[in-house]
């Protein structure tokens, strides 16, 4: 179905697209992967180099796993994408952002985390992959408010 949609979008004139019709296809294999390694493979990443040029801004302790705020910035020139992976989630790949001309390789989002886990941000630039990692502890809160 996705493929048919993509094909249809391909042949329709871009000028007449509604905003959502320009949306990218969804990588079923990568998002269905049960391990961080499989997810990375499915988005074409192998042997990402650890770097300090990709910054993960997130609290070290999250009061609630339902909402864990994460902000990622890549200072690597020519960054074209950033993927977010929560290692211990049932489906570790949370999101992949592609940055086109004009976009700063920066994103802030809220993710779910079932338990304390490493969170990785993988940036791709010039055909290479770079990774930053941060452990986030997920705790049990009080009675809410």
């Amino acid at each position: 179905m996705d493929r048919i949609r993509r094909a249809l979008i391909g042949i329709s004139a871009a000028a007449f697209l509604k905003p959502w019709e320009a949306l990218a296809a969804w990588n079923k294999e990568a998002f269905g992967a049960k391990t961080a390694q499989d997810a990375l493979r499915s988005i074409g990443v192998s042997g990402a180099a650890p770097t300090k040029e990709v910054l993960i801004e997130a609290p070290e302790i999250a009061e609630n796993g339902a909402v864990v705020p994460i902000e990622i910035t890549s200072n690597i020139p020519g960054t074209t994408s950033i993927a977010v992976i929560a290692d211990k989630n049932p489906f570790p790949l949370v999101a992949q952002f592609r940055f086109h001309e004009g976009a700063v390789p920066f994103v802030k989002l809220n993710i779910k985390m079932g338990e304390t886990s490493e969170v990785r941000a993988i940036a791709q630039a010039g055909g290479k992959s770079y990774v930053a990692t941060k452990e986030i502890k997920v705790t049990i809160g009080g009675c809410g408010g």
Partner: protein, 267 residues
């Protein structure tokens, strides 16, 4: 309006080790709360609430646009900042939800039973009362909280709230003070404001109602009173009853004077 804050990028390269002390843990939790508050879905409920305010409902097919929240029929701006207050037409002190219920009955012609059939919503389906509360409260942002305290019934409500706050009952012998009686205490990681004191009550008056991230729900002070009594193992207090309004009035008066900056964010 979205409260937009400039993101701080410099911090992120530092402090990658696990927090070593309780002090660090506290700081990290504060950072968590600050980051969550930067992007609050509370505003989505304000949009829903505004639509509901204008939507004709009930047997009389009336909207809330003639509902008098204390500032005159239809005036939303600044209304929340003056609640709870005494309303002569009902001869009682009302908080926001009690007053909304009053308008549902008198303007829209709905029964009390129908109006309160579903006052606490779920993440999937917020209640009408919650969305309306988000909208009305948001229209008091920046204005000082000044609940009514001049009418004898307002003073009575305050005193009833004060008495309920310390009243121990139920199988676990709890009063509000069992958790909210001593400064600096917490349940799990949640700090517990001493609501009899202005400093703590101000933070509450300024930020409720609020979006609760753990359940993705919009929660109101009526919900807070209800769920506290549930956890006190008590029977259920009536929605917008004199008892719950008195407690809310007690807290809001203790916290008065602070500019309203909600709807806020809760864990």
């Amino acid at each position: 309006m979205i409260r937009f804050s400039k993101t701080v990028l410099i911090l992120s390269g530092l402090a990658l080790t696990a927090p070593a002390s309780a002090q660090d843990a506290k700081k990290e939790i504060q950072r968590y709360r600050d980051m969550v508050a930067e992007g609050s879905p509370a505003e989505l409920f304000e949009i829903e609430g505004e639509a509901l305010w204008k939507k004709p409902q009930g047997p009389r097919s009336a909207s809330f646009e003639k509902c008098d929240l204390g500032m005159g029929p239809g005036v939303v701006k600044g209304a929340y900042a003056h609640l709870p207050r005494y309303f002569a037409d009902a001869d009682r002190v009302m908080d926001l939800e009690a007053r909304l219920m009053h308008c549902m009955m008198t303007l829209q012609g709905r029964t009390a039973k129908e109006a309160t059939a579903r006052v606490f919503g779920s993440a999937d389906r917020p209640s009408e009362m919650e969305s309306l509360s988000a909208y009305v409260a948001s229209a008091s942002r920046g204005l000082p909280m000044e609940p009514g305290m001049s009418h004898p019934k307002e003073q009575q409500a305050y005193e009833l709230g004060r008495a309920l706050y310390v009243h121990r009952a139920g199988p676990w012998d709890f009063a509000c003070t069992s958790c909210h009686g001593e400064e600096g205490k917490r349940i799990r990681l949640q700090e517990l404001p001493v609501l009899a004191k202005p400093e703590a009550a101000r933070a509450v008056a300024a930020s409720w109602p609020a979006y609760r991230v753990s359940t993705s729900q919009f929660i109101t002070l009526q919900w807070r009173m209800n769920d506290c009594y549930r956890q006190m193992r008590m029977p259920e207090p009536g929605f917008a009853s004199e008892a719950t309004v008195a407690l809310i009035h007690f807290i809001t008066v203790n916290g008065r004077g602070v500019p309203y900056r909600g709807p806020g964010n809760k864990r």
